[in-house]
Symmetry: C2
Subunit: 243 residues, 2 copies
DNA sequence: TAGTGGTCTAGACCACACG
DNA sequence: GTGTGGTCTAGACCACTAC
């Protein structure tokens, strides 16, 4: 081990290499924090620091009272060539069983940034605000926060609360013509970690989007927070068109 | 929301709200860990845990011996409509002063995954391997790891080590016709954190790309690790170019 | 020299899982 | 009840920065 690296770094790198090498396989339980402390001859605090790093990187998952287990997660790949309201279509394309849990659907006075993004006028500044958790199989993948123009929410409220956004909109003639997307990164705060069932501090992709109809009018916008340990984004550039 | 949030969460959320509210402005120094411990009536360990969360989220930066300061970060926005070897062009478009520091340039036997991505044949499996740090102004933005086909490295070695990839390639007739891109997320390990001068565990975008010439032959691939606290990615979908 | 953050220890109490 | 991870404390030593 390097002379000047902190112990917790040496330890997390060592554990990572052992996981990579297959000494611990996906699903395996790691030794307890106490035992690891004995093995590396350090305090439990130092072991916990090392394991926290691995947890944030999605390599291991800890369960209180049970132990620390090696995670295995193939990442779900989302194409950036279509707005993320096609989430369901993307999941299906990868043979994953997508489902949603709607946790909020209400008509509110739009916040300022939403007024701007949806190009609302002062006298029509109410929107429907939906929040839902998206699952692939049993596991949560994302938290989606969507703002619909009021007319859409009035019309499609029931359907939007029970099904995926894209199918509902498309079935009713709302097909996006274009979309603007911006991808950032954030860390799960306490609220998000509880909502998604992920560790505090897990990195999340923040996928911001505004979808526009054929007349250039934005009709839906929002952001989707996806677990970075379970998702990635891809795009093909050039060839005359974005694919 | 939850009845019993950990103290370190309460504290980091409180500090975050004070930063958001402008009580601490960008560049301001936070009270010392000792003083914060007195204010919140907790141990220094708990304060450090709270500050570590803020650090990873890019809200504050700590300097040993000096203190903890509120960071200011406007994010650099990269378009996903062009391969990231256009990094320099993107920086210029945003009036940023881009520069590079080449830290490795050598001809090596290509690793297996590079053989595959560049579609190399068994008897022409050597590539040039370049690593460089990219700066916007004084601040490091990204670590770029690029693999060139041997013929390109032989021809353009000197230029590639001193300038940005895109201009060098374009000036010599190597214009990418298409590119495949995949964006993931990783956390800075010890080596990366030292190389980029960022805190251990800072989230990074991992931008993987393969660029192909007009004959469909890949000629350069690699990955760019960009600081997620300083960069984001955007793309415009549709407007006729996509189904 | 004094103050700051970086690391680490030893030990405590709690909540949860399992037999 | 025993073992596990989750949280927190009090204190130590070090390296770096400023004066």
């Amino acid at each position: 081990m390097s002379p000047n690296t902190p112990k917790h770094v040496d330890i997390s790198e060592k554990l990572r290499s052992e996981i990579d090498a297959g000494i611990y396989e996906p699903g395996d339980k790691l030794p307890s924090e106490f035992d690891l402390g004995q093995r590396f001859d350090v305090s439990r605090t130092t072991i916990r620091r090392a394991i926290a790093d691995l947890t944030r990187q999605g390599l291991v998952t800890t369960y209180q009272g049970k132990g620390c287990f090696v995670a295995q997660s193939e990442k779900v790949n989302f194409s950036l060539a279509s707005p993320l309201i096609y989430f369901d279509a993307e999941l299906k394309r990868q043979n994953l069983d997508g489902s949603i849990k709607s946790i909020r659907f209400e008509c509110i006075e739009a916040p300022k940034d939403i007024v701007r993004r949806l190009k609302l006028s002062a006298d029509h500044s109410r929107v429907y605000w939906q929040e839902k958790v998206i699952y692939a199989g049993e596991e949560s993948i994302a938290l989606d926060i969507t703002y619909y123009r009021q007319s859409i929410g009035d019309l499609l409220g029931d359907q939007l609360q029970s099904g995926f956004t894209y199918y509902t909109l498309a079935r009713n003639g709302f097909k996006p013509h274009s979309a603007e997307v911006r991808v950032e990164c954030a860390l799960a705060n306490f609220q998000l970690s509880e909502c998604l069932g992920v560790p505090l501090g897990l990195p999340l992709f923040v996928y911001n989007y505004v979808a526009t109809d054929q007349d250039g009018m934005p009709f839906v916008c929002g952001k989707t927070l996806t677990r970075s340990d379970r998702t990635c984004f891809s795009v093909k550039i050039g060839d005359g068109s974005v694919e």
